[in-house]
């Protein structure tokens, strides 16, 4: 059971949250201009690193607000909790950003 600290409500058990997958994946600015390959990237391809991963969580049975967490996917250790942009690009962009990064 993870103990996640909601930026607004404080530390709560994992069961109070909903997982939202990779953070910092913006909606395409001009969807109609995307190729099929770019749509596939946006819809289906997410980073999946073994190590630090910037991800979204929603305090779904509490304040219902979304926030971001950097968590090590090997140890499950929470490395950072923040709202808005990544606090440190070196831990926030853990995956391969050379392909399909729209940020």
């Amino acid at each position: 059971m993870l103990l996640l600290t909601c930026p607004w409500c404080g530390p709560r058990d994992e069961t109070e949250y909903r997982y939202g997958g990779q953070a910092h994946v913006p909606h395409p600015e001009d969807p109609s201009a995307l190729s099929d390959e770019e749509w596939a990237e946006y819809l289906f391809f997410r980073d999946n690193p073994s190590g630090p991963f910037a991800e979204r969580w929603c305090h779904s049975v509490g304040c219902r607000r979304w926030f971001n967490v950097v968590r090590d996917t090997r140890t499950y250790e929470i490395l950072a909790v923040y709202t808005g942009a990544a606090p440190d690009s070196s831990i926030g962009r853990s995956g391969d950003s050379s392909i399909g990064a729209h940020a």
Binding site: L43, F45, R71
Partner: protein
């Protein structure tokens, strides 16, 4: 004073040092990797082959799954590849001369809501059209198949009926791996353990070998068969996969007298249960929500599946949990596997089996071997290529595959 331990039985396979190069290298020594190497040798005459395993043979998901084998999938492409696997399972004990206790005790997939009933009856019809032995049972008929199943209408989610596939069953997963490994060793295929792939050697856009913790190994073709770690390998090779890795937990009880004659799965209350030959009740459920490579999950998931199991099987109320564990499963967007070429020439991938790869071990190996040996997908894995995420021709088994993912 302790007695001397018994002598170690004869090793079933050797522990060779890697050669400088092979015609084909399979990365991953789990069930699918071993089956791939087996069919490379058996069907394509390739025996200058190595299986590279970063840990020990079949120590990942092959030792962690709940051993259920069935083929009652909704879509034609899925039904074809899983039913082909089931037919191979039916002949493998004799072919490999190894009794790995494949027991065709059937599987019940329970329906608890009107929508479950609609989904289930539709799936039975689709299965029958695909030549798969599926039946629809009412609650009393389901209770005849599994007498300890609680079909009382006075529970939160009463059983409204079930699909039944009599040819489904379970097998002893470790022994399946050992059977393949022994056959491979006899054919001269190298099974190389404690050999982690750390990079890929490329000539232009073509893979020509792998870097490993035991040195560089050349390869004519390379197959990635690494389940939950596929994304990590793909990234090393310079491409991405639409895969998210999650912990999937399972558990076993202490040993009990035989009480459970079949396999029972329930989407809605979300648990699946069988009883192993030795007597443990073996149960699984859904993945932990977050991405993880830790081979462990949270206990609230176990608590939830135990609650579901108790509603279905009140007789388990005094059973003791013996141990829980997790494997890392590679979940794809449409809950279907990805088998075929990659953006790197001569590099092929078999992944995305998610929570249900064990049952497909033989056919996954068969079609992966075909793809690696010929450079072209087999008819059975043609619908399962990476390109389907661009064309949109998904094989959407989410909620259709008789288990919620």
């Amino acid at each position: 004073m302790a007695d001397l331990p018994p002598a170690h039985p004869t090793w079933l396979w050797g522990n060779p040092d890697p050669r400088p190069s092979y015609d084909a290298v399979v990365v991953g020594g789990g069930g699918h990797g071993l089956a791939t190497a087996y069919y490379l040798a058996r069907n394509h005459g390739l025996t200058n082959v190595a299986v590279l395993e970063k840990g020990w043979l079949a120590g990942g998901n092959m030792a962690r799954n709940t051993t259920i084998i069935r083929s009652n999938y909704l879509w034609d492409a899925s039904a074809a590849i899983y039913e082909f696997a089931l037919r191979l399972w039916e002949q493998l004990p004799e072919e490999l001369d190894y009794d790995f206790l494949f027991s065709q005790r059937g599987v019940l997939n329970l329906a608890h809501t009107p929508q479950d009933v609609r989904e289930a009856t539709r799936r039975v019809n689709a299965n029958q059209l695909n030549g798969i032995d599926a039946q629809w049972l009412d609650p009393d008929e389901a209770a005849k198949v599994c007498p300890i199943l609680n079909v009382s209408p006075h529970v939160r989610y009463p059983v409204l009926g079930a699909t039944f596939q009599p040819r489904a069953g379970i097998a002893k997963h470790d022994h399946v791996a050992w059977a393949f490994a022994r056959a491979l060793d006899a054919m001269g295929v190298h099974l190389i353990q404690n050999c982690e792939v750390t990079g890929f050697v490329k000539d232009g856009d073509r893979v020509v070998g792998v870097e490993t913790t035991r040195g560089r190994i050349g390869a004519g073709v390379v197959g990635l068969v690494a389940a939950g770690h596929s994304s990590v390998l793909a990234r090393m090779a310079g491409f991405r996969l639409p895969i998210q890795s999650h912990p999937l937990q399972a558990l076993a009880s202490e040993l009990y007298e035989p009480v459970h004659p079949t396999v029972v799965m329930s989407n809605h209350v979300h648990v699946y249960v069988s009883q192993a030959h030795k007597g443990e009740l073996v149960m699984g459920a859904g993945v932990d929500a977050y991405n993880g490579y830790g081979q462990r999950g949270a206990f609230h998931i176990i608590e939830h599946q135990m609650a579901a199991a108790l509603e279905l099987f009140p007789i388990f109320g005094r059973a003791h949990l013996l141990r829980t564990w997790a494997g890392i499963v590679d979940v794809s967007p449409d809950a279907s596997p990805i088998i075929g070429p990659t953006p790197v020439r001569n590099l092929y991938v078999n992944c995305g089996w998610g929570t249900g790869g064990f049952k497909a071990t033989p056919s996954a190996g068969w079609v992966m071997a075909h793809t690696m040996a010929t450079g072209e997908p087999h008819e059975l894995n043609r619908p399962f290529g990476l390109e389907r995420f661009i064309t949109g021709a998904l094989v959407d088994e989410h909620g259709a595959a008789a288990v919620a993912h």
